[in-house]
Amino acid sequence: MKILLIDGCAVEQPAAAWLAEACRERGWSPTTLNLRALTIASCTGCFGCWLRTPGICVTDDDGREVLKQLVQSDGVILLTPVTFGGYSALLKRALDRIIPMISPFFSTVNGETHHRLRYTRQPRFGALGLMGDDDAVEAQTFRTLVARNALNWHEPRPAVALVRADAGATATRATLQAAFDIAGWK
C-alpha cells in the first residue's frame, strides 16, 4: 500500500519517524509530507474548486500538490498534536484545501447528508493524535472528529491512534499497530 503521512506538527516530533516505521513494518510504502516545509494558504470558502475549476483549488500553491498526492495514495494518515480535541491549525489549513476531492452534490450516509465522492477510488483514512496530557474529553472529541471525517470520506473503518507526545517509540508503534488491526488495514 502506498501510504501518505501528513505531518501537521508545528514542531518536529519523533512520532513522525515512528509512524513511518510502523507502516514499513506492515510492508507498506510510506511517504511523509511535512507541512512545515510547504506553503499552503487558507481556504477562502469561494467554492471555485467545485464550480469554476472542478477538482482543482483556484489557489495555486502547495495545497494542490497535497491533494494530488492524497488522491493518488492507497491510504492517508494524519499526524497532529491534539489541539482542543481537534487538529492543529497547520494541519487544518491543508485539510480545508482538500474539499475538491469531493463533489458539491449530496448523498446519504448513515441517514445523514454528506457529499458524493469525486473519485471512484478513495484512500483509506486514519490519524495519529499526540496528546499533551491525559484529557479524556479532548481524547473523545478527537476520536469523534476522525470518525466524522471518515464518514465524509466514505471510510467505514478509520484507523485512529492516540498517544502521549512523550510516550516513546515502542508504545507509539504498538498503539499504531493495534489501531491498524482494529481498522482492518492489510
Partner: protein, 227 residues
Amino acid sequence: MSAPGQAVLLIGSPRGGRSTSAQLGEVLVAGLKKRGWTATTHVARTAIANTSSWSELERAAAAAELVIVATPLYVDSLPAPLIETFERLHALRRTATPPQAQRLIAVVNSGFPEASQNDTALAICRCFARRAGFHWDGGLALGMGGALSGHAITEHGRTHAVAAALHRAADELAAGGPLSAGAIQALARPMMPVWLYRLIAEVSFRIAAWRYGTRHLGARPYAREDD
C-alpha cells in the same frame, strides 16, 4: 438582569463580514446592544495576518465579559484561521489570565441540512474555552446555512424562526445566563424539509457553475490510471 457588559464577536469564516457566520453573530450582537452592551467585531483570518488587527483582538478579548464565536463548519471542524486564533489566544492566556470572569459561546453553521453535524466543532470550541479559562455558556448549531446566503436575517419571511431563536439567545446572554436548551433547539430546527433543501442547493450549484461557463462538474483531474 445583569449590568450591560462588553462583548467580542469573533468571526471564523474566511469570508469575513460577507459571511452567513457574520450575519448570525451580528444578530446576537444587535440583541446585546439593545440592552446597553458594547461590542467589537473581529475576523480571525484578518487578525492572524495583521499585527495591528491582532493587537485589537487581544485587547478586546482580555477586556470582554462575553466572547461570541461565529463560524462555519469546515471539514467537520473549525476553519484553520480560527484554530490558529484559538492557539494564539490560549498561549497568551497561559501567562496572563484576565482578572474578571469571562464567558464564551459559539454559533456554528453548515451547508448540511442536519444541525447536529456541527456538534464536533462545538465540542472543539468548548475544549478551547476550558483550556483558555473561559466559562462555556453553550453552543448554537444551525443547519441549512446555504438557505441564509445572501438573505438578511429578519423577523419576517423564511428567516423569522432563525431571528427569533437568536433574539432569545441574546436575551439569555444579556441576562447573564447560559444559553437555554430551548434557544439551542429553536435554532437547530430545520428551515424546510431536507429533500427540498438538497434540491435547491444542488440546482443552485448547477446554475452557479453554468454562469461560470463550467460544464463538467464531475471532473477528476488527479485520478490515477486505474481509477
